[in-house]
């Protein structure tokens, strides 16, 4: 048995960390998040595309490296709280690879190379984080319906729309989307409502779409869990540095036992998340029959764990933790968004239970 990454994946992780520490420093990220309409660095995403990152989940001959590598990369992206649609794009590229037709293949190539932004459009009910049965239709080459909380939808070049007739590929109309941006608590996650009533092509029939979306949901949940891990890890490091440097009553506040115990709990949550996330990633590659269960476990755990760790970070920073200027709020906001999407904690917890009962049989 071996928990550590093998050489190739460890190298990928290290080089990703170096790249992101250089190109996605928090100070730069903050400016981009606050000042650009899309909320992320298109230049950095182009660079990630050239380096093959969005292709990570594709088959090996199309540049894929498997779920463990994917988790390792997303952990690094979580550490720097990388804004933007990377997870959505990587998952959409994978879905496209399973779709039919030349259009899907063309968009798959562009998405995998980072030349186009393609995302899934699934949710229709803003009161429910987990997509239900779609009412959106695709017939006679037209897609009509409305989608909400489409990640980076307003800036996407194409959408993979879940409809009751299957999965439809919709290119951004010449006049642009009929999209309404949604302002949410994490201003680095740009969601949009999109009204669809225009041309689209069916790229997977309902049965195939269900398969592809189940797989996509699992991979997105794994990716979100890995992002949560990275976010927690960095929030913990920031907190440790702060409690060592910040003095009160003439001593570093990190010498107080209450704070030490909080930090110990942060570590317990973070390290347990690491165990769960990488075990799930490993299962995705090597134990497909257990993957759905172990991914559900990882996501159900990582969401509340992330909320705890990043919440503690703000608490331990004290008043400055509540300011816009200090960084902990970026982490707190991101974990809350990630906890809700890609299988909310409630949904994943219920899934873990029912899958555990099935496995026991």
């Amino acid at each position: 048995m071996r928990f550590e990454l093998d050489e190739d994946r460890a190298l990928l992780k290290t080089s990703t960390r170096e790249l992101l520490e250089k190109e996605a420093a928090l100070a730069d990220t903050r400016a981009i998040m606050e000042e650009t309409p899309e909320g992320y660095s298109k230049a950095l995403y182009a660079q990630l595309g050239e380096l093959g990152y969005p292709a990570l989940l594709l088959p090996e001959d199309q540049g894929g490296m498997g779920a463990v590598a994917f988790a390792a990369v997303l952990e690094e992206m979580g550490r720097v709280a990388l804004p933007g649609p990377f997870l959505d794009l990587a998952v959409a590229a994978r879905v496209l690879a399973g779709c039919d037709g030349a259009e899907a293949e063309a968009w798959r190539q562009r998405a995998a190379a980072g030349e186009a932004l393609v995302v899934l459009a699934r949710n229709e009910d803003p009161g429910c984080a987990d997509p239900g049965e779609p009412a959106t239709r695709c017939s006679d080459g037209r897609v009509s319906g409305s989608k909400t909380f489409v990640p980076f939808g307003a800036h996407a070049d194409a959408l993979l729309v879940e409809t009751c007739d299957g999965l439809a590929l919709v290119e951004r109309p010449g006049a642009g989307w009929n999209a309404t941006p949604l302002e949410t608590l994490d201003h680095a996650q740009r969601f949009a409502e999109i009204e669809l009533d225009g041309p689209g092509v069916l790229v997977a029939d309902p049965a195939r779409a269900a398969e592809l979306l189940a797989e996509a949901g699992r991979l997105a949940a794994l990716g979100a869990s890995a992002l949560l891990l990275g976010l927690m890890e960095r929030a913990q490091e920031m907190t440790l540095a702060y409690t060592t440097e910040r003095q009160a009553f003439g001593v570093p506040i990190g010498s107080f036992q209450t704070l030490q115990h909080r930090c110990a709990d942060m570590m317990l949550q973070t390290e347990s998340t690491r165990s769960a996330v990488y075990r799930a990633a490993w299962a995705e590659e090597c134990r497909p029959e257990e993957a759905a269960y172990l991914v559900a476990v990882a996501k159900a755990w990582a969401g509340p764990a992330g909320r705890f760790v990043c919440g503690q970070a703000i608490q331990l920073f004290g008043g400055v933790g509540f300011t816009w200027e200090y960084d902990p709020h970026i982490y707190l906001k991101r974990v809350k968004t990630l906890e809700q999407f890609h299988g909310s904690t409630r949904t994943q917890t219920a899934a873990a239970l029912s899958l555990s009962i099935k496995q026991g049989d």
Partner: protein, 391 residues
Amino acid sequence: MDLQFTPEQEAFRAEIRAWLAENLERTWTEETRDPAHDADSLVELRRAWQRKLHEAGYIGMGWPEEWGGRGAGEVEQAILEAELYAHDAPLIPNFLGISLLGPALIHHGTEEQRRRFIPKMLSCDEIWCQGFSEPGSGSDLASLRMRAERDGDDWRIYGQKVWTTFGPWADWIFVLARTDPDDRYGGISFFLVPLDQPGVEMRPLKQITGESEFGEVFLDGAVAKSEHLVGALGEGWKIAMTVLGYERGAAALRYPAEFGRQIECLTSVVAERGGLDSDDVREKLGRLVVENEVMQANGLRTLANLEAGLPPGPESSIEKIFWSEFHQRLTDVALDLLGPQGQLATGAPQALAGVDWAYQYLWSRAGTIYSGTSEIQRNIIAKRALRMPTS
């Protein structure tokens, strides 16, 4: 990454399962519910069980062959533990002797001591209890006050030990006693003391479960022979701390196996009552499944890192906090979901099958206290793993 057991390890698991099917006639829960049993007969049953395990070669598996082991790896030991707990097998009476004293003798004892004590410890012809904690020295163990005084070549021991598990049935006790009042750590020595002698008084302590599985022992001039000092004079603290760190992996999969069985029992009762239709109930049960599986992931990671020869990190403290606090959450949820039926005492004819929930509910309060309280474990993580400043 590779979290797969080898075919040999899987074969070992199959061997244990077959052996248990053959040899474990009744689960521990069933035994404790049998009105024909009393505390003494249950200890005898455990003794017989340990003997069976020993004859099959399953006790002290990680030890060198010379001392009755088979030089098994941490993974095999973890698999054995997991299977024993998953099948609700009785706990062996000498678990502290096997996990602490055995390694102490193998690594720090004399050849003579190993020959004299190890075989009977393995076969359970002698039951050992542990004498570390004292009424005034729990978490701050090094403040212990039991003292050993020279008496010719031998030693006379004075003082009190407490929380001595299986003390009322033990033949011997291994104690930490002070041989130098002025040296906090270097003044502690490790002695083996027979309990059947003048100057020994063992008093059972009634636990919150109503049992008296542990006790307190008063030594008033009891003799420890010169050849029953383990290691050198003043090495007791060092030896105790080293043996506490041995076999880190053996328990890695134990608690997920034990609590996994309990969660399955709980789920099947709730399912039979139609409770799984409720979102609230499913969420509570699901959370238990999730936490238990994350604990399993931690355990697998610990084993994998041990196999890879990585230096120990904070995992044993994380593991201890996790399982002990989780057991409290688990039994809280169980008693909530089961209703008053969950409160039925061990042996009550109306009790639910599989698990004595009321007993577990009470017993779960012990885990966060013994072997280093949750607070001590958090101190260890903060200081050793996070290197937080000291005041």
